[in-house]
């Protein structure tokens, strides 16, 4: 009897592919499996980016797969699983998968008295599989949606190429996150010298976020200094580096002394650098007034520390190519400064 497994891949969902396509169009220098790191406007978070960039084939095991053939007995499968301490085996012949025998199937066979039957009579054939080119995010969804501990992986010709478990996903994600952490500590990954820098675009993308604590003037300015170091390491023009650093510093001090705390996010993209200051409140009553030189609500203590002259926002605006501020009482203020790597205000 020939069993033809029903293969449910979930491939009809296009959203991940669309995200990857948009990402690749935005960062043509970065291949999907390359070492350069890039992000999308939709989800600049490192983990999200990793889940989209990594593929199932980056996590799957393709060697030493323990399997049975259709004519093996359930008892043979049981012994094989016991000996290798595994909870399931695929039924494989010539790169083709016919089914899976799990611990549950073995228990049922023992209870039902058909442990001597050939596996082709008792194996699970309604398989849920993954394709090797699917993003890792897709695999994670599968593990959330189904109770299986592993999924067989097929190539585009429907040949069996490996198997992926939750443990495999964790392993590859931990490895990649470790690499990302090293890079985000200020070491922006540069392309190899052979892929020389283009006239208008830098070959990397970098993002870093810094926490700013209310009234912690002891540490205020660390983020801006680190941003300056990152830009210098990236080999950017000194005047541009100074403008970005000035804006980052002013905004960082503002968040520190005027808000309940927040963050400074720095994004270095191929064509621009962006500094975003976001705080948790209390918000600015009159944003236009706050942006005027010399207007300040700072107290004497802040002034004694060298700040509070009321030039923070005006200074940030002065050095930026694009400046935007949104504020709402009591939820907080978000200020965004953009700097074009080629062009305006580079004087």
């Amino acid at each position: 009897m020939q069993h033809k497994p029903t293969i449910l891949t979930g491939g009809e969902e296009r959203s991940d592919d669309q995200i990857i396509a948009a990402h690749n169009a935005k960062h043509p220098n970065n291949s999907s499996s390359g070492k350069s790191v890039s992000g999308t406007d939709e989800s600049p978070l490192v983990v999200m980016e990793l889940l989209q960039r990594l593929r199932v084939k980056d996590a799957m095991r393709s060697h030493n797969i323990i399997s049975v053939v259709r004519t093996d007995s359930m008892r043979f499968a049981q012994n094989l699983m016991k000996r290798n301490n595994i909870s399931g085996v695929p039924v494989l012949e010539d790169k083709r998968i016919f089914g899976i025998v799990s611990v549950n199937d073995i228990i049922k066979a023992l209870e039902g008295g058909w442990i001597q039957d050939q596996v082709q009579k008792r194996m699970a054939t309604n398989l849920v599989v993954l394709e090797e080119d699917m993003p890792l995010a897709f695999a994670i969804k599968h593990f959330q949606n189904y109770s299986f501990g592993r999924f067989p992986v097929l190539d585009k010709d429907r040949n069996f190429v490996g198997i992926v478990s939750q443990r495999d996903l964790t392993r590859v994600l931990m490895n990649e996150l470790t690499k990302e952490l090293v890079r985000l500590e200020g070491k922006a990954v540069k392309e190899t010298e052979s892929s020389a820098r283009g006239d208008t675009a830098l070959p990397y993308y970098s993002m870093r976020q810094f926490v700013v604590v209310h009234n912690d003037l002891q540490n205020a300015g660390k983020a801006a200094n680190e941003i300056k170091r990152m830009m210098k390491d990236a080999g950017l023009d000194n005047k541009l580096v100074r403008r970005v650093a000035v804006a980052a510093y002013e905004l960082e001090i503002n968040v520190c002394i005027h808000s309940l705390g927040g963050s400074i996010t720095f994004i270095l993209d191929t064509d621009k650098a962006t500094v975003i200051a976001k705080d948790r409140g209390p918000g600015i009553k009159d944003v236009e007034w706050a942006c005027i030189d010399g207007t300040s609500t700072a107290n004497d203590w802040i002034r004694s520390m060298g700040f509070g002259a009321g030039m923070g926002l005006a200074n940030s605006k002065r050095v930026s190519d694009k400046f935007d501020i949104q504020s709402k009482i009591p939820t907080g203020t978000t200020v965004m400064c953009e700097f074009y790597l080629k062009g305006k205000k580079s004087e």
Binding site: V246, E250, G306
Partner: protein
């Protein structure tokens, strides 16, 4: 005017940040750091009374070549550590900021006339 000249002219002491071979490109005397950030000059000599980490961090942002703190103000240990880590020479002077300005101006004028 180099670090050694600054120390000599202002009766100062190099407290942290180490020596450097850079020359003074511009002089900024200010205690308000936002004012300092407004300045676009290179190789700034920052004369200030602000004895805090922020004076050094601000100096680093604008690429200052030296920071001088006046009136023999006690310098916090963290300020010296920041200066060391960022490699910015930090000089302590017994002079007032006004006196420093005068002496630095005189030195630079003499330097200009000798060329």
């Amino acid at each position: 005017m180099k670090i050694a000249d600054i120390i000599k002219t202002l009766n100062g002491t190099l407290v942290a940040g180490g020596q450097s071979n850079r020359s003074v490109g511009a002089v900024v005397a200010n205690d308000l750091m936002s004012d300092v950030l407004l300045n676009d000059s290179e190789d700034i000599l920052l004369l200030t009374s602000l004895a805090s980490d922020q004076a050094i961090r601000t100096a680093n942002i604008v690429g200052a070549m030296c920071v001088v703190v006046h009136n023999d103000k006690p310098l916090p240990q963290t300020m010296c550590q920041v200066a060391d880590s960022l490699g910015i020479p930090l000089v302590s002077s017994p002079l007032s900021k006004y006196d420093s300005c005068v002496r630095v101006w005189q030195f630079l004028e003499a330097e200009k006339n000798s060329l």
